[in-house]
């Protein structure tokens, strides 16, 4: 019994230490400029939403829109292209599978700048710098293989006999895929969609490299708040809180599958 109590106590203590930095920035976002600097921090204070109001009224809201639009489009496109491919991989046994696995691994391993340089040069020619389209396309480099990798595992879990029964009833491959395999792997589809959304939403490097102002996404827009003579601490904290909220909410929604998605390639799904 003592041992159990010790484990619970140690776990709670660790949890507080681990989550402290996140709470610190969240509370900073609702303090006025002067409050934020007062040490020790007052435990009782009047929270203010001023920083959030400033952000919503300023240019930041547009960057937030850019983030939402690009992440959503990438997700849809990656699913549209990747899901049928994943299905094909799951249902056939051809030799290219090993190659695809290796390539999935390589695209996951490569430092983003390896794709950043060639895409930057090509986009300069095509006039795609600082466009949402450009961002969506480069996000496919990592999202497409993630979709194929994740969805293949989900399709593997759908018993083949169901589709075979459909074939006997005269259904074609497309019908079997759309009417049987897809609905049965709906939870997997939702999880995969959320993961691709998060990966695109969290991106910093590509947006830094390929956007200037028009297509600027929220993570890079924040950095601009720190380029002026004095840091706008409250505003930075508020913006950071705004972009991490959807991430935390969505992660909680998929926590059951989180191991599978976050360790893509590391542990067998």
């Amino acid at each position: 019994m003592n041992r159990r109590a010790a484990i619970v106590a140690a776990t709670l203590l660790l949890l507080v230490v681990v989550l402290c930095p996140v709470l610190f920035i969240a509370q900073m976002s609702v303090r006025t400029g002067l409050e934020a600097f007062r040490m020790p921090p007052a435990l009782v204070f009047t929270p203010t939403l001023q920083h959030y109001v400033d952000l919503v009224e300023g240019k930041f809201i547009r960057s937030l829109m850019n983030s939402t639009v690009t992440a959503t489009s990438t997700t849809l496109l990656a699913l549209l292209l990747g899901v049928p491919a994943a299905y094909a991989f799951s249902r056939s046994r051809f030799r290219a599978q090993g190659v695809v696995s290796l390539w999935t691994l390589v695209t996951r391993m490569a430092p983003p700048i390896a794709f950043g340089i060639p895409f930057f040069l090509i986009y300069k020619e095509l006039g795609l710098i600082d466009t949402r389209t450009g961002l969506v396309v480069i996000y496919l480099t990592f999202n497409l293989s993630l979709v194929i990798w994740m969805m293949r595992a989900f399709f593997d879990g759908v018993p083949r006999s169901l589709e075979e029964a459909a074939y006997i009833d005269g259904a074609g491959v497309v019908t079997a895929f759309v009417r049987i395999a897809l609905p049965l792997s709906a939870p997997g589809l939702a999880t995969t969609a959320i993961f691709t959304f998060l990966l695109s939403w969290n991106d910093f490097f590509y947006s830094l490299l390929l956007t200037r102002s028009e297509a600027l996404t929220a993570p890079v827009a924040i950095v601009n708040f720190m380029n002026y003579e004095s840091w706008e601490w409250g505003k930075v904290a508020a913006a950071a809180t705004m972009i991490m909220l959807p991430v935390v909410a969505l992660s909680i929604a998929v926590r059951k599958y989180i191991v599978h998605g976050l360790t893509a390639g590391a542990v067998k799904g």
């Binding site: 484990i7 660790l14 681990v18 610190f24 691994l105 924040i222 972009i243």
Partner: protein, 275 residues
Amino acid sequence: MAVLVLVTVLPLLYLVVTSFTPLDLTSVGSLRWAGLTNYRQLAGDGRFWNSVWVQAQLSFWTVSLQMLTGFAIALLLNGRMRFLELVRSMFLVPMVLPPVVVALIWKILFTPDVSILDWMLGVLHLPQPAWLSDPGLALWAVIVADVWEWFPFVMLTLLAALQMLPSESLEAARLDGASRTQVLRYITIPLLKPAIVVAVLFRLIDSVKAFPHIFIMTGGGPGTATEVTNFYAYLQGFSYTYVGYSSAIIVVLLLATLLMSLGVLAVTGHEFDVE
């Protein structure tokens, strides 16, 4: 499939091509063959070798510390208690946050005057260094941020492996009178070895990608104290516009990553081929 090739294979080939050219964003017509010039220059570039050394230190410390904390917490959370199952996913928060938020959080925590960390050190009468502007400490600040962000990955991988351990051998050892430490030392760790190796390799490879932390927290400085190879390539390509030279650095970096990936395959090999 064709799309995958188009968006991944072709750009990498293009990268290799530019690495053989003196391509400079500010000069037209600089996309011409120059053979191994960039690579020869790289071999004698002190700043490049410095970046490799910084990277080696960053990788060594982040991976070791993540393995230690991740493993310790995995052992702690590997119980059958309902409570433990509930809190497990809360430990994952640092890993899912946008990297830019992680970098900002630690930038603030390591900045004197606004940081509660700084204030606590003061209360304890400990030195309150200006972490990010001290060449000896800046890399440690980056290491702390990275360990915080990624220990959950190690924890997650090892926790999954721990829960798949055969409970019979653990119980048999306990019945034979082995202490908890002995079970850990002679049974648990040897059985976890594959998972440990995979976690180390993945973290090692990812540590080479460190970018947002360095960009936001230190900008590679002070001086070149936190300038890792990845960041140096970014500076060469996009601050100094020498894209050709930058490509060569990245090609070398990619080859190193590829070698490590082959290591991953060697460990997990068969699992990638057939399901």
